[in-house]
Amino acid sequence: MSETMTEARDVELSGDPDGGEDAPIQLLPLDAWHRARGGRMVPFAGYEMPVQYDGIMAEHLWTREHAGLFDVSHMGQLLFTGAGVDQSLEAVLPGDIKGLGEGRMRYSLLLNDDGGIVDDLMVTRLPATGPFHDGEGEAPAIYMVVNGATKYDDIGYLLDVLPDAITMSLLDEQALLALQGPEAVTALARLVPGVDRLVFMTAGAFEWNGTPLWISRSGYTGEDGFEISIPGDVAAAFADALTEQPEVKPIGLGARDSLRLEAGLPLYGHDLDPDTTPVMADLGFALAKRRREAKDFVGAERIVSERENGPATKRVGLMVEGRQPVREGALVVGDDRVEIGRVTSGGFAPTIGAPIAMAYVPAALAVPGTVVTLAQRGKLHRATVAAMPFVPHRYVR
């Protein structure tokens, strides 16, 4: 018995399993914590990370019903300060960063000259009072969370494009924990009173046992939940306090992937890459109207024209017939068995009890209800284009 690869050629593995980097593997602040709880550690994005504890299926369903604690400390937490920091970031991000209020956050994209996606990220305007910066008042600050496998490339790219007046710091002493699920708010509010006042895509400064926390109401599962930035040396004690709550269990990367797939959320390095534009990826909501009209961000030329004229291919959801998962790298084929598209994520959806996938297909087929044929390891599968998310989002707005 041995693990088999899907048939498609040159599958990109930039987010998985080892981040495509030559750097030595790093350890998370919670490395020993995961091992003590039976986490099965695998290399991912340059780190040893827990892929599962009790089993992916059980962890997935637990998160949908209760609350799951995810260690996402491999992700890059970046701090930008300096006069005009929002204006400067707008050169590379297509979103409305200037219009972002304190404690408000947005999903955005780092783009290249061709409008391709270099990374996807969350960007938040910090209050003048901090955290992470001295809070002298005059220095506006932006906090950004980028993907783990791409963080060093992002830093290099941003150093090139940002003016000298802007200071960028990698907050690599900070751990990042996500608490996700319908009972996340109950469990977290018990330890950190007041977090229930946050709504989806807002953030604020809190404290636990004298430790400063930066908490946002956001996540990557489609459920209500929080992401918590905490000093790495306190993370284990805080993770202990969270998992002592009856609602909370630690959840590995495996369930994180199946949860985000059901939520219709793309994964960088798989569903998004430098050859994919936000229009192809169906991420038009990340393109602010003012920015589209001004065409004043990197890659705007192509993106705006593609938005008006329609992309050649588009990211869609697929419900796969039968029980066999169709995974990343499988091909979407036409009647003559010729490749017309590509599956970029796929697997068994525990909440649905059936295989689902994301794929890029010709725009004409990107309509819910369209039946397409997939080819994987010499076998053909039928699938139907489906609206995403596959499982409804339950954000608290």
């Binding site: 041995s2 992916i56 066999q324 697997g347």
Partner: protein, 123 residues
Amino acid sequence: MPRYFTEDHEWIDVDGDVGTVGISDYAQQQLGDIVFVDVPAAGRRFAKGDEAATVESVKAASDVYCPVAGTVVEGNAALEDEPALVNSDPEGEGWFFKLTLADTGDLEDLMDETAYEAFVAKL
């Protein structure tokens, strides 16, 4: 009834010239939740080491190799509706297929239960 194991974590029970093939308890633990099993149809002929079945967990697809040469007499139809049998009873109800051995000499290269346990302990 003697049971043999491969280094790829298949097991085979042999009764006369008919063998029953599955994957070991260690293998199912490594794979995690099994969501799909593709077993070979009766009549399929395999050489020793051929890919004979596919087993898919939530995370990944894996090939199952035929531990000996032979001709399939039956695939385990129960796995179609209940692939999780491979998790709950990997070395019993979760068997994959039965085949007629072409050459019982193929068994000589395989490990017995004690040798396999020692092999797994070192992994």
